[in-house]
Amino acid sequence: MNGAEVVIRALERHGVEVAFGHPGGAIMPVYDAIYDGNVRHVLVRHEQAGAHAADAYYRASGKPGVVIATSGPGATNLVTGLATAMMDSSAVVAITGNVPTSLIGTDAFQEADVYGITGPVTKHNFLVKRVEDLPRVIAEAFHIATTGRPGPVLVDIPKDVQQAAFEGDVDAEIEVDLPGFQPTWSGHAGQIRKAAEAIRAAERPVLMVGGGGQVAAPEVMAFAERLGVPVITTLMGIGAYPAGRDQSLGMPGMHGTVTSNRAITHCDLIIGAGLRFDDRVTGKISRFAPNATVVHIDVDPAEISKLVHAHVPVVGDLRDVLPRLADELGPLDVEPWWAQLREWKARYPERYKTEKPLVSQEVIELMRDVVGSDAIVATDVGQHQMFAARLYPTNAPRTWITSGGLGTMGFGLPAAIGAAFANPGTPVVLIAGDGSIQMNIQELATIRKHDLPIFIAITNNGVLGMVRQWQELFHAQRYSEIFLADSNPDFAKVAEAYGIEGHNVFDRETAQALVPEVVARGGPALLNFVVYESEKVFPMIPAGAGVDEMMIGDQEPDAEATS
């Protein structure tokens, strides 16, 4: 048995069913082992897409995603995908080949310092120099990726190590021994008591749930039910608590709902659960929740008091902390608060104007109404992402797949692929823009090859919409380098060229007639909706402004609103 076969055997032992990747010179022994192994390999057409697919595979299934690439350019192509996974705490194990150890450091063909390059964008990384270390390193990689706050781990394996004979027992049990890596699972009892006291004293509490809630949806639900507390889900927390329930106030932050942002401004207590108070959520920190006591529960102590001061920090996994906290508490008597929140909710429903050409929002609602809320929703990055977060938020955990922290254009298409492999048979809706879809459009080939039930809805406004919105609002309508329409491809033809059903849709009537028809065929399909160019995402908190300084756009302002 050689090192490469040890790698594949180790993947099998860790329960890996699917790996995404692209072969090349320095990883050929591993691909030779894949030829005979039991790990199903999905050939992507760009390594970045492989990393995103592996990332989405984890997000949609809770099982670590695996991506394999060769040395040099193969590995450097992973960097954006690893950084995306790092920011959104996604468990990815990346396996890369490297040039033989004797050539490391000599500027050999397809050599890059992958260990050095990927250090800052991974939770941890390894360069394996001895074949006998492989089983231990791979066990550690999976352990680190999936334990505590999840994250990507890269294992770089020189070609000669892949080829070297392995003399040990490849199936021997491995005790992972990492004294420097001991994440806290169980919350401190004293801190939980303090948190309960603070919550009991609150008159206007909110529960804010972030990406950490994806692993703890039942606990979040039980906690919210018991307390009767309003729930705000961040972009990463969508699905961790059902968006459709009465207690949900929707998304906070830069493009959050009026109700969520008002609630943050007026609340006297925030229970932050599995979130990191990203700047897109808080706006200007000094104006964020000025009256609130902050109880911050997170598995990563470094997130606590990093940006927003936590009056009561609780380090631990939500699955441990939330039930214990709920045990100390009963239903909160916060009816006056609810009356206020209900008033805001009624006054500010999701609203957009349709007395213009087709708009992105109605396309997204149409997809939602036809495909339904049991689908997995993946998005790319831009205006359509915010519209989707507001109009097509999902109701179950691990069904909302978006690049939140890094905001990676090009994430959507490969992410839809990863999610489709994680949940065979479940339809996946990809909401994309005409800009971002082109950043990984080659993956239509992967969709075709595996005939995946993916419905791609491009909201094509012919410009880089979010950049355009900022230029219109903050750069004096100086539209610099955003125009795509004059050189966009015919997206329907592109789809057809890949052997995928494709349609260009220009008007409301066609859209309403066509979508049900296409969805009924089961996919894959690409629908290119040509939409109104100047539509903007509102509400909007301008960058650097406070949560209370929302621009509410088309909504009817009240005394507190700025337009």
Binding site: G116, P120, S305
Partner: protein, 183 residues
């Protein structure tokens, strides 16, 4: 609003893995923490190294530094000595110009006051070796400015907590003895 910046001495016990220093230095760089000095060497336990950092920052920054360091898989222990009673030392080599016998005598006298050793003698320069805390280093450098410093090198500070006892233990504010002879 933000609390004043202060200088902290932090020691980090790390696994002796290749690239561990790069991880730590990279973490400082990308999170915008300032390292005033850094020293690394093997510890008393085989396979473990101890690094001592001096960092500048307000309390929130220092807290983040420690938490982020603690997250590194190869980092076993992070100790902020500033909160405890600790001993710290630094080693300096300093080459000073000599312009005649009078200066030579004067330099020797200052060196004696500082308990600095002369480790190289030539007609135009003396090289002193000095250990002590940061204040002592700075005071010696200050004295040498008048003569003309040709070159100097400092190791950066290393630190260990004091043991509890007559001169040690938490909250004991007794100054290191040799500070007395430089003031």
């Amino acid at each position: 609003m933000s609390a004043p910046s202060s200088r902290r001495v932090i020691s980090v016990t790390v696994r002796d893995e290749p690239g561990v220093l790069v991880r730590i230095a990279g973490l400082f760089a990308r999170r915008g923490f300032n390292i005033a000095s850094l020293s690394v060497a093997e510890s008393e336990t085989p396979g473990l190294s101890r690094t001592t950092f001096v960092v500048d920052g307000d309390p929130a920054t220092i807290e983040q530094v420690q938490k982020q360091l603690q997250k590194l898989v190869d980092v076993l222990k992070v100790v902020d000595h500033t909160e405890t009673n600790f001993v710290d030392r630094e080693l300096m080599l300093i080459k000073v110009a000599v312009r005649g016998p009078d200066e030579r005598v004067e330099l020797r006298q200052i060196a004696q006051d500082f308990r600095a050793r002369i480790v190289d003698v030539s007609r135009r320069a003396l090289v002193f070796e000095l250990t002590g805390d940061e204040g002592k280093m700075d005071a010696f450098i200050d004295q040498m400015q008048d003569f003309g410093i040709v070159e100097l090198i400092r190791t950066g500070r290393i630190a260990l907590p004091r043991s509890a006892g007559r001169n040690g233990g938490r909250g004991d504010a007794v100054a290191p003895p040799e500070r007395a002879d430089v003031t």
